[in-house]
C-alpha cells in the first residue's frame, strides 16, 4: 500500500503541474455552460420567432387575427406556391370552399409555420362547425362524442426538462471521463518512455503491478474530476439558465447513479488508455492509438439521441458504455433505478475494467516494453 500511495501521489503531483490536463479540465467546465446558453437562446428564439405566410385570395373573417396571434405574419403574394420556395416560410391560397397550403419540408422554418397554421385552422374549423350546429339548435357536443381529459402524472414541463438531461448528461459523462484523463494517461505511460524514465522506474524494487495501479488510480482521479467539473458546471448553469421554460435540475438519485457510473467508467477508461499508452513509443503515437476510442465511446453514448425510447432487454446492459448511458437515462427520466439493470451494468463495467487492467499489466511487464524504448 505504501508504494502504491507513493506512485499515486507522484503522478497526481505531476498531473497537477501539467498545463495540458489542467486546461482540458478547465475547458470542460467552461464549455458545457456555454453550450447550454446557446441551446437556451436558440430554443427561446425558435418558440417566439414570427414566421411569414405568403397568401393570395380572401382570408376568412377572423382567421387573420388568429394567425397573427400565433406568431404568423401574413403577406400577400401573387403566387404562394412559388413564394414558399424561398421568399416566405409558407404559401397559402384561400379559396371559397378550401385552402391550399404550400411548404418546403426541407426547411425547418416551413415545418414550424405549417404546424402553427394547422393548429390554428383546426381550432378555427371546430369553432365554425360548433357555431353552425348551435344555429340549427344542435348541441355542438356531437362533434366530440368522446371528450378526453388528460391527467399528466408528472409535470409535462419537468418531464421535458428530464428528457433533455437524459440525453445530454450521459453524453457529457462518457466523453468527459474519456477525454479528461486521456492526456494524463498518455503522459504517464507513453510519456514515461519518451522521457526515458521508464527503465529507471522499473529498476526499483517496487512490483510493476503496484506502479501500474498507482498510475491508473491517478488517471482515474483526473478523469473523474474532469467529468464532475463538466457536469457540476452544467448543473450550476441550469439553475441560472431557463431551459424549455423551466429550471432543469438533477435529482439526488440521478446524481448518485451518475457518480457511481462515473467511478466505474473512470476505472475502465484509465486502464484502457494506459494500456494503449504503454503500447506507444511516444505521446503522439499514443494519441493516434487513442483516436478510435472517441468513435467507440461516442457511438453508444449518442444512441439515445437517435432512439430516445430505446428500451432494450437486460442483455443489452452487458454492453459497456451503452449500459451506463441507459441506466443514467432511466434514473433521470423515471427518477428510479432498475436494480437488475444497474447490477448487470456494474458487473459489466467492473469486468471491462479488470480486463483492461490485465491487458495493461501484461503490456507493462513485457520485455519488449524496454527493448522498444
Amino acid at each position: 500500500m505504501r508504494t502504491l500511495r507513493i506512485v499515486f501521489l507522484k503522478e497526481v503531483r505531476e498531473i497537477l503541474r501539467d498545463r495540458r490536463t489542467l486546461i482540458a479540465i478547465g475547458l470542460a467546465a467552461l464549455a458545457t455552460p456555454i453550450v447550454l446558453i446557446v441551446i437556451s437562446q436558440v430554443s427561446t428564439r425558435t418558440a417566439t420567432q414570427t414566421y411569414t405566410v405568403g397568401y393570395s385570395g380572401d382570408i376568412p373573417a377572423g382567421l387573420d387575427v388568429l394567425l397573427t396571434a400565433t406568431g404568423l405574419k401574413l403577406e400577400p403574394v401573387p403566387d404562394p406556391a412559388a413564394a414558399a420556395k424561398q421568399e416566405v416560410d409558407l404559401g397559402v391560397v384561400f379559396q371559397t370552399t378550401q385552402i391550399d397550403e404550400y411548404y418546403d419540408p426541407t426547411r425547418q422554418s416551413a415545418q414550424i409555420a405549417d404546424t402553427r397554421v394547422q393548429t390554428v385552422l383546426g381550432q378555427y374549423n371546430a369553432a365554425k362547425a360548433a357555431a353552425a350546429l348551435k344555429e340549427k339548435g344542435i348541441d355542438p357536443g356531437v362533434l366530440n362524442p368522446l371528450p378526453v381529459t388528460i391527467h399528466p402524472l408528472s409535470s409535462p414541463v419537468k418531464a421535458a426538462g428530464n428528457a433533455f438531461l437524459s440525453f445530454f448528461l450521459p453524453y457529457i459523462l462518457v466523453t468527459m471521463v474519456l477525454t479528461g484523463g486521456l492526456s494524463a494517461a498518455l503522459d504517464t505511460s507513453a510519456g514515461e518512455r519518451e522521457r526515458k524514465t521508464l527503465e529507471s522506474l522499473l529498476l526499483t524494487p517496487t512490483p510493476r503491478s503496484r506502479i501500474l495501479l498507482g498510475k491508473i488510480l491517478a488517471v482515474g482521479l483526473v478523469s473523474l474530476t474532469a467529468a464532475i467539473a463538466a457536469i457540476g458546471s452544467m448543473l450550476l448553469a441550469l439553475t441560472q439558465i431557463p431551459l424549455l421554460g423551466t429550471h432543469v435540475s438533477l435529482s439526488p438519485l440521478g446524481a448518485t447513479v451518475m457518480l457511481w457510473l462515473a467511478v466505474l467508467l473512470a476505472g475502465s477508461f484509465s486502464s484502457l488508455t494506459l494500456a494503449l499508452g504503454t503500447l506507444a513509443k511516444n505521446f503522439r503515437q499514443g494519441q493516434a492509438y487513442a483516436t478510435p476510442l472517441y468513435f467507440i465511446t461516442i457511438f453508444p453514448a449518442s444512441i439515445i439521441l437517435f432512439i430516445p425510447d430505446f428500451n432494450p432487454n437486460l442483455a443489452y446492459y452487458l454492453i459497456p458504455i451503452l449500459n451506463a448511458v441507459l441506466v443514467l437515462r432511466d434514473a433521470i427520466v423515471h427518477n428510479a433505478v432498475a436494480w437488475p439493470a444497474l447490477g448487470v451494468t456494474t458487473a459489466s463495467l467492473a469486468a471491462t475494467g479488470l480486463i483492461c487492467w490485465f491487458a495493461a499489466l501484461r503490456l507493462f511487464t513485457r520485455e519488449t516494453l524496454l527493448i522498444k524504448s
Partner: protein, 239 residues
C-alpha cells in the same frame, strides 16, 4: 580479486531474431571498477539489463551478492543502482523530488529519507539547483540527478552504461571521479563503455565483448599486454 559481487555464468539471450549474447561469463568484485567493454552492438547493455533483472536470460545464470536474478529479482534490485546514457528525469518534479521519489520506491522512508536525500544532494553538489524543476536543468545537472537517484538507496553494486556519452568534458570528469570514489567505499562498480581510453584509466579489470562473446578478460594491464594501449589490444583481438 576482491569478493565476488556479480557472477555471470554462460549467459545467452536472443532479442527478436538477433542472438545478442552467446554464452557470456564474467565476475565482478566489490571494491573494484570492472570494465565491460566492446563496440556498439557487442551485448554490453543487454548483459547489464539481465544483471539488474530488467531482462531475463534465455540460458545461463546471474547471481548478484548471492541472489539469483530469476528467483530473487526484488532483492537484486534493492542492491543495484544503474546510471545510463539516457538521463531521463521527471521534468515537472524538482531535482530533490526526483531523487526522493526513487528513494521511496527503493524502500527508504521516514527520517532516513530526508537524511539520504540530503546526503546525495551534498555529495553530488546538487544543492544549488535542488529545488529547480528538472525541465530547466542542463544535461550535466540532469546526469547528477540521475546518479543521485541511482545511489540514494546506497546500493552495493553500481552499474554505469555509457554514462558520459551525452556529456561535456567537465560533467564526464565528475562521473569518473564519482566512480573512483565509489570504489574507495567498497562498492562494486561496473562500467560499460565503448570508449576504451576511459576504461583503461579507470578499470581494475576488464572484459571485452565482441558479437555477444567474451574475447578477453582479466586485469586491465594483463589484457593490454604488450600493446601500446587497450584500443590496440582490442583491435588485434577482434581482427
Amino acid at each position: 580479486m576482491s569478493p565476488v559481487a556479480v557472477k555471470v555464468d554462460r549467459l545467452e539471450k536472443t532479442l527478436g531474431k538477433n542472438k545478442v549474447l552467446r554464452g557470456i561469463s564474467l565476475e565482478a568484485g566489490s571494491g573494484e571498477i570492472f570494465g565491460l567493454l566492446g563496440p556498439n552492438g557487442a551485448g554490453k547493455t543487454t548483459t547489464l539489463r539481465i544483471i539488474c533483472t530488467l531482462l531475463s536470460p534465455d540460458a545461463g545464470a546471474v547471481e548478484v551478492l548471492g541472489f539469483d536474478t530469476r528467483t530473487a529479482a526484488e532483492e537484486v534490485r534493492r542492491r543495484v543502482g544503474v546510471v545510463t546514457a539516457d538521463i531521463g528525469v521527471y521534468p515537472r518534479l524538482s531535482a530533490r523530488e526526483n531523487i526522493a521519489y526513487f528513494a521511496e520506491l527503493s524502500g527508504v522512508s521516514g527520517g532516513d529519507l530526508t537524511r539520504r536525500v540530503n546526503s546525495v544532494i551534498d555529495r553530488l553538489d546538487i544543492g544549488p539547483f535542488a529545488q529547480q524543476r528538472a525541465e530547466s536543468l542542463s544535461s550535466g545537472q540532469k546526469q547528477k540527478v540521475a546518479i543521485a537517484r541511482a545511489i540514494v538507496h546506497d546500493p552495493e553494486i553500481l552499474m554505469f552504461d555509457e554514462p558520459t556519452s551525452n556529456l561535456d568534458v567537465l560533467a564526464s570528469r565528475d562521473i569518473r571521479d564519482f566512480m573512483v570514489e565509489a570504489r574507495g567505499r567498497g562498492k562494486c562498480v561496473i562500467f560499460s563503455t565503448h570508449v576504451l581510453h576511459d576504461a583503461e584509466r579507470l578499470c581494475d579489470r576488464v572484459t571485452i565483448l565482441h558479437e555477444g562473446r567474451v574475447v578477453a578478460t582479466g586485469p586491465t594491464a594483463q589484457v593490454r599486454g604488450t600493446h601500446r594501449d587497450l584500443e590496440d589490444a582490442f583491435l588485434e583481438l577482434v581482427a
